[in-house]
Each structure stands twice: as structure tokens, then as C-alpha cells.
């Protein structure tokens, strides 16, 4: 019994079919509890007032915007090394979700930034990095869309994802060098004394879990669609030949 068994499209389909509704359900539950708790049952921040509450959308979506790309990178490497189709299709499936997360992070950031910094947009390193990440996502999706042969497209997008990751990291440092920022440091980290206080922390953790589960559910759903598309294509090609 190896984990790679699930990389077989049929096995993946049969395994995920019963799991998927549960993941969606759990994601919905975490999000509902986390967001309602966060929005209505936490005190206002002494400096930021009620605007702080957008943190329950902003931080989790920013987290997933980056992790979606990381997941695509890992999936691309698995595809290049082990040639598991599900892996390539999962990377393809994750990209639009990653784009959505990046947009949510940028939009909520702008809405939060307006009352706090007095501007919707600033060329701050963190903001700029997310904008660049967004451009990388666009290129990745466009390359998938432009190439007809699915295996060729998988190979090329994987190479792009790996090279892109290196350059995205480089851009992050370049942008830091280029401008000092307004954005506060990470609000959550394990080794820091001064995290956000517990009142905000618990609902935030819940909504983060909700976003992670939602991401997983969406990626599984979209991967299943991609697998079905490939299956239809394969069957059609063979029907035409027979």
C-alpha cells in the first residue's frame, strides 16, 4: 500500500467521491463559525476599531494564495519526476483557486488599508509581491490554456512553475530592497512573543482552517473535472481510431 496508488486517476476518483462532501461541509462549518465568531463576538481593537475584523478574511486568503503556489510547485515536481497524471491535473486545478485567493487578499488588503493608511494601494513590498504573484499565476494559467496536447502542456507548465518559483522568491527580495514598507510584520508566528491576542487568535485559526479546507475541497472538485475531461478526450480519440 503506497501513497502513489492514489495518483491513479481511477483510484483518485473513487477515493475522493465519498470524501468530497465532507470536506466541503467541514470547510463551511469552520468558515461559518470562525467568521461569525470573529465578526460579531470579538471586541474591537483599541487602535484599529472594528476594521480589524477583516483580518479573518485577509490573513487566511493571503496564506492560501502563497500555499496554492507551493502546492502547484510540489505537484509539478511530482509530475516531472514520477509522471502521475493526477499530480499535473491537480496543479492545473489549483491555479485558478490560487488566483481567486490572491485577489481576495489584495481586495481585502485594499479595504483594510484605506482606513488604516489612508490609501487603497501603496507600493509596499508585501502588496507588490502579491501583485507579482498574481502575474505569475496569470502566465501559468495562460500557458496551460495555449497548448493543446495535455502532456506537453503539463511538462511545460511544470518547468514554468519551477523557474517561476525561483524568480518569485527573487522578486520578493528585490522588492524588499526597492522599497521599505507600511505593512505590519506577520501577525502570527510560532516563535514570536507578541502575537495577536488570544481573543482574535482563536476565531482566526478557525477561519484559517476553513480556508485551507475550502481550498482542498475546490482543488479536489476541479481535479475531478480535469480527470473527466481527459477521460472523455482519451475515449473519443480511441473511438475515432477504432
Amino acid at each position: 500500500m503506497s501513497i502513489w496508488e492514489y495518483a491513479n486517476p481511477k483510484k483518485f476518483m473513487s477515493t475522493t467521491a465519498p470524501v468530497l462532501p465532507w470536506v466541503f461541509g467541514l470547510a463551511g462549518l469552520c468558515l461559518a463559525v470562525g467568521l461569525v465568531w470573529g465578526f460579531f463576538f470579538t471586541p474591537d481593537d483599541y487602535r484599529q476599531g472594528s476594521t480589524v475584523k477583516i483580518i479573518y478574511l485577509h490573513v487566511p486568503s493571503a496564506l492560501m494564495a502563497i500555499n496554492a503556489w507551493l502546492m502547484m510547485l510540489v505537484a509539478s515536481l511530482i509530475w516531472l519526476v514520477r509522471r502521475h497524471h493526477v499530480s499535473a491535473l491537480a496543479a492545473r486545478a489549483a491555479a485558478p483557486v490560487g488566483i481567486a485567493m490572491t485577489l481576495i487578499a489584495l481586495a481585502t488588503g485594499a479595504i483594510w488599508g484605506q482606513p488604516m493608511w489612508g490609501t487603497w494601494w501603496a507600493w509596499d513590498p508585501r502588496l507588490t509581491s502579491f501583485l507579482i504573484l498574481f502575474l505569475f499565476y496569470l502566465g501559468y494559467v495562460a500557458l496551460w490554456a495555449a497548448i493543446e496536447d495535455p502532456d506537453t502542456a503539463a511538462d511545460l507548465t511544470s518547468v514554468l512553475c519551477i523557474v517561476g518559483s525561483v524568480f518569485a522568491l527573487l522578486s520578493r527580495y528585490a522588492v524588499n530592497f526597492w522599497n521599505q514598507g507600511l505593512h505590519q510584520g506577520a501577525s502570527l508566528s510560532l516563535d514570536k512573543e507578541e502575537n495577536v491576542s488570544d481573543v482574535f487568535y482563536q476565531p482566526l485559526l478557525l477561519s484559517m482552517a476553513g480556508f485551507i479546507l475550502l481550498f482542498i475541497a475546490l482543488v479536489i472538485l476541479r481535479t475531478r473535472t480535469e480527470i473527466r475531461v481527459r477521460r472523455i478526450k482519451a475515449l473519443l480519440t480511441r473511438a475515432r481510431r477504432a
Binding site: 507579482i132 502575474l135 505569475f136 496569470l138 502566465g139 495562460a142 500557458l143 495555449a146 497548448i147 506537453t152 511538462d155 511545460l156 518547468v159 514554468l160 519551477i162 523557474v163 517561476g164 525561483v166 524568480f167 518569485a168 527573487l170 522578486s171 527580495y173 528585490a174 522588492v175 530592497f177 526597492w178
Partner: protein
Amino acid sequence: MIALLTRDLRLAVRAGGGFGLGLAFFLIVVVLVPFGVGPQTELLSRIAPGILWVAALLAALLSLDRILALDYEDGSLALLATSPLPLEATGLVKAVAHWLTTGLPLTMAAPVLGFLLHLKPEGYLPLLGSLALGTPALSMIGTFGAALTVGVRRGGLLLSLLVLPLYVPTLIFGAEVVRRGAEGLATTTPLIMLAGITLGCFALLPFASAAALRVNLK
């Protein structure tokens, strides 16, 4: 490798188009900027480093799809792939040829255009240095992008979309060198970063380009 380089240079010179077009484009962009932002000397002088770098970058971008597309269409690329020359070397030579026909002339022309934009006198040396160090990276990254999109019909726009985000670090450090130079600050750090990016690109991207070419020739 020398044979391929000479051939590519000869083709570039004979075809006429690519060589001069990039330079003309560079000139036009730089001339258009004052029409857009107004003729104030002080403003132009302040934004000159950035404008020169962005214009040079766009001019280099213009000829990227010619790096590999022509050889792909007439079958040369498949013949080269089965020749003793490894595809990694082909990618590297293509990038060098592109730089010699695009990046180098742009670097040479940049000081003249800096004059049009009232670049401060201290900025000229950093401008030459940063373009000479940075434009090779633009050619190498561009060759990688061209290798990815060589099989796509009318891939020019897609190529730009893929390559421009990859250009961000080079642009940031390159323009920073000129800006700091023009203000009389030390330029060592961004220059070293720029050189590092260029060396890294030339060390790694030929392999990525060859991998992409192999997939596209399948």
C-alpha cells in the same frame, strides 16, 4: 557553438529587421515619455533611470519570439536537436546571439537617450554598467520564454505575459543602480545583485530552455 553563433548573427544582419527595429523602438519610447509627463527638466531627470530601463526592457522583449520561432518553423531546430550540439548549448548560443544583436546595441545607445531625458552626469557610468550587466539576463530569460512558447501559434503575446514577471528582479536592481548612481550614492550592492542574477540565469536557464525545447519538439 561558434558556427551557430556566426550563423545567427549573419541571419540577424541580413534580415535587417530585428537589429535596427529594437533600437528604433527604444528611441521612440524614450521620445514619447516627455510628451506624456511634460517637459520639465527636473522631473525628467528624476525619472530618467527608470524610463531608460523600462524602455530597454520593452525593446528587448520585442524580438524575443524571433529567437527560436523561425528555426522551429523551417525545421532547423529538429535538425539541431539530432546534431552533436546539445540543446542546452543551442539555448545558450541563441541567448548570446540575441544579446549581441539587441542588448549590446541598446546598451550603447542608452547614454545618448539619457541625454534626451536630462540624466544627471553621475548617472551615465552606472547606466552603461547596469545595462551591460543586466541585458544578458533579459536575453537568457527571454530565450527560456521563447523555448516554452515555440510550439504555440502566434505565441508572441503569451511570451510577453510569461516573461515580464520574470524580468521584475532584473529591472528592480538595474534601475536601482542608475537611480543611486545619479544621486551620487554607492551602487555596489545592486550591481552585485544584478551580476548575480545574470550569472544565475546563464548557469541554470539553458537547462530549463533545453528541457522545454525537447518537450516542444516531441
